[in-house]
């Protein structure tokens, strides 16, 4: 089996350069020559949609167009596919990872090594056949990541290991990845800004490494700066269990993607003879004449079975060979059947986790897990576990957080006023829609029955009551030793856990109606994940008290005595 990238540590770093680059050009190197095979395919894919549209648009009349267009398409793809190889250079110096690219608009991207937070490797099927991979480097402050295509797989692995070990060793003397044991609940923790983690780079200075010579290859320095135990220990946190596939059909997030794909396909379906409107109508008439109920029932069953198959297949493709490991100070996720992904992030940058239990998964006791981190792509959240048993998600989540509790503790409810607000909002929505319906029935001369708005209210008012109650029961917050735990008002139970050290500010919002009820929405701002964690409808004094307790010292000067 040609499995994905092996996440095991592998042999120690060799002392030779990452790859034989031509000497004397200040260490600048090109992408691997094998990229010349991959590039044209990538370019062809970019051209494919406009080319197909053009071909369908003009070429439907005469066939000669295709004969002319096809060679042009191929030649253009070849040319454009080679441009990146010709114009992209990268190098690793003592202090920076640099990429420069561009034919006309030249860009130069630089990541200081001490700012490297995450390194992702991604290899599509074609890339894997050729032994290539794409490297994406995330830095702490910018959201943009530096992407570098067409690197030999082994070089990519080395680059990842070098960048992450180097970023860490350059940064600070080694410290344990987490506080070893949670503090007793009653004891307030020390000023978070005195914590070495608050400023892990405080001691970092280029001058710390005066012995380094810029012309020397950084690889050797990487070796020097790795901690004495140069081979970091690898602990496995999770591995795919195929029994988890039973949860795949319960996660409807993929359904939206599928619907989009179907919508896209239907654009082309018009051109197919069987989707002729007449054909459809006659088929429908025929079927309806047989037994409408039977047809609908069978249709529903077929759709359901198709969904189960699609969901399971997609889950297999995405999560094949999943491994989540702790590799020294980094957290690494590898998965993928066709395209393999390997995401590595410095664990100190993982500021929290998010556990999601969609409505359908709640009775099945399933959940998904994502990490909230800074300096990674995709909006700072990385899904690290597919839909899986909730016990697994909590165990792995606690493992990542380095403490037990935040994902399982009971939360504080927000009180009767918050509950009332949920009910009012639900019923208001029902009434607004009913009013619009009533106006439509009264004013628009469609033959809608007069009782339509009443029927709407009759159905949706009880539904609103149930929804509001479920939402209120989901709503909650709690401050544990080192973490702020919050769930929002939603039928999807989404518990967000944020390290209090990762909180960089507070926003207390009150709408007009919240002000009348003495409630507030508390927003903890952070650089990780979606950059904020929101607690809705907390009683105002509790919200301020929560903020005060979570970040001692920050609010001191602003509190009423």
């Amino acid at each position: 089996m040609s499995g994905p990238v092996d996440p095991s540590p592998g042999p120690p770093l060799p002392d030779e350069p990452l790859a034989p680059g031509s000497a004397g050009d200040e260490g600048w190197r090109r992408m691997d020559t094998r990229y010349l095979v991959v590039g044209p395919f990538g370019a062809a894919r970019q051209f494919a949609i406009p080319a197909v549209v053009a071909a369908v648009g003009i070429g439907s009349g005469n066939g000669t167009w295709g004969l002319v267009a096809l060679p042009i398409f191929v030649v253009l793809s070849l040319l454009f596919g080679m441009v990146p190889w010709l114009t992209t250079y990268f190098r690793v110096t003592d202090t920076q990872f640099e990429v420069r690219r561009g034919l006309l608009n030249k860009t130069r991207l630089t990541a200081p090594l001490d700012r490297v937070r995450s390194v992702d490797l991604e290899a599509s099927l074609l890339n894997r056949l050729l032994g290539l991979t794409k490297v994406a480097v995330g830095t702490g402050v910018d959201d943009t990541r530096i992407e570098l295509d067409g690197i030999a797989k082994d070089d990519g692995e080395q680059l990842r290991r070098f960048l992450l070990t180097r970023s860490r060793s350059a940064a600070a003397p080694p410290v344990p990845a987490r506080a070893p044991a949670p503090l007793p609940h009653a004891e307030p923790y020390a000023d978070p800004y005195a914590d070495p983690y608050a400023h892990p780079y405080a001691q970092q200075h280029p001058q710390q490494h005066p012995q380094q010579h810029p012309q020397q290859h950084p690889q050797q320095h990487g070796q020097q700066h790795v901690r004495p135990s140069a081979e970091p220990e690898v602990t496995e946190l999770a591995r795919i269990d195929w029994s988890w596939l039973r949860f795949a059909p319960l996660s409807l997030a993929r359904l939206a993607v599928l619907a989009g794909a179907l919508g896209f396909a239907s654009q082309f379906a018009d051109d197919l003879p069987i989707f002729d409107a007449d054909t459809v109508r006659s088929t429908y008439d025929y079927l309806a004449a047989q037994a409408l109920g039977l047809v609908l029932g069978v249709g529903a069953i077929v759709a359901l079975m198709a969904w189960v198959v699609v969901a399971v297949l997609a889950s297999v493709v995405q999560w094949w060979n999943l491994r989540l490991v702790r590799d020294g100070a980094n957290l690494r996720l590898t998965a993928g059947l066709l395209t393999t992904r390997s995401t590595s992030v410095e664990e100190a940058r993982v500021r929290g986790v998010r556990m999601t239990e969609p409505l359908l998964m709640r009775p099945a006791r399933g959940a998904e897990l994502a990490t909230l981190a800074t300096g990674v792509g995709e909006g700072g959240t990385t899904t690290v576990l597919p839909p899986c048993p909730r016990d697994v998600a909590t165990r792995v989540g606690h493992e990542i957080l380095g403490t037990r509790g935040p994902l399982t503790v009971p939360l504080h409810r927000h009180g009767p006023l918050a509950r009332r607000r949920r009910h009012v909002q639900e019923q208001l929505a029902v009434l607004v829609v009913a009013a619009v319906l009533a106006a439509a029935v009264a004013l628009v001369p469609w033959d809608w029955p007069w009782w339509l708005p009443l029927a709407f209210v009759g159905v949706f008012t009880p539904l609103g009551v149930v929804t509001a109650e479920v939402e209120y029961r989901t709503l909650g917050h709690r401050l544990t030793d080192d973490h702020l735990v919050v769930t929002g008002p939603s039928v999807v139970r989404r518990r967000e856990v944020l390290e209090t050290d990762g909180i960089i500010g507070w926003v207390v919002q009150q709408s007009f109606f919240q002000r009348r009820l003495g409630l507030a929405t508390l927003v903890a701002t952070t650089a990780a994940g979606a950059e904020k964690v929101v607690a809705v409808d907390v009683p105002h004094p509790t919200a301020v008290g929560l903020a005060h307790a979570a970040t001692p010292g920050v609010l001191d000067e602003f509190l009423a005595r």
């Binding site: 700012r115 702490g140 402050v141 949670p182 609940h185 800004y193 608050a198 400023h199 892990p200 780079y201 405080a202 300096g375 037990r404 509790g405 399982t408 503790v409 009971p410 939360l411 504080h412 409810r413 709690r478 544990t480 990762g502 960089i504 500010g505 507070w506 926003v507 207390v508 919002q509 009150q510 709408s511 007009f512 919240q514 002000r515 927003v523 701002t525 952070t526 650089a527 990780a528 950059e531 904020k532 009683p539 004094p541 509790t542 301020v544 008290g545 929560l546 903020a547 005060h548 307790a549 970040t551 010292g553 920050v554 609010l555 001191d556 000067e557 602003f558 509190l559 009423a560 005595r561």
Partner: protein
Amino acid sequence: MSDHDREPAPGAEPTAVLREPQNLVSPRAVAYWRVSSGIGTVLAWAAVAVVWFLWSDRPWWATAALVAVAVAVLVPTVVMPPVRYRIHRWDVTRRAVHTRSGWISREERIAPLSRVQTVDSTQGALMRLFGLRSLTVTTASAAGPITIDCLDADVAARLVAHLTEVTGAERGDAT
């Protein structure tokens, strides 16, 4: 750890109350808000007038609606500036920034200076006329920028100097 497994007792949580920030914005802000809001009001009145004269055989409810719109757009210009002047307040210490803003809804923002990344000050053309300046302090979170609107230009300049000095002394990447 056993403490975690118990259902939290109601009312067991600490509570606290924020005091009002001490500093008001520039008194000229009231006039500035009135003028900038008044421009919008006048434009809306012009639109109402156009409809009024072009649609002469309008039904009674359209007349009522037009009058209602004309009155409603006046409310922000008349009511908002003094209310907002009372609400908008700020505090900057050596450790943190605290602002309060809004006039129908309220928003209070607090950020420790150790997490501040940039300090910007901006001045629109109309603000320059009134000698006002706005100050924005950003952190590494897109949800966290703190703006103090319509400060006296001199006060804003002093604040920028203070904030750059304090935040410049900070190390690390403030995430």
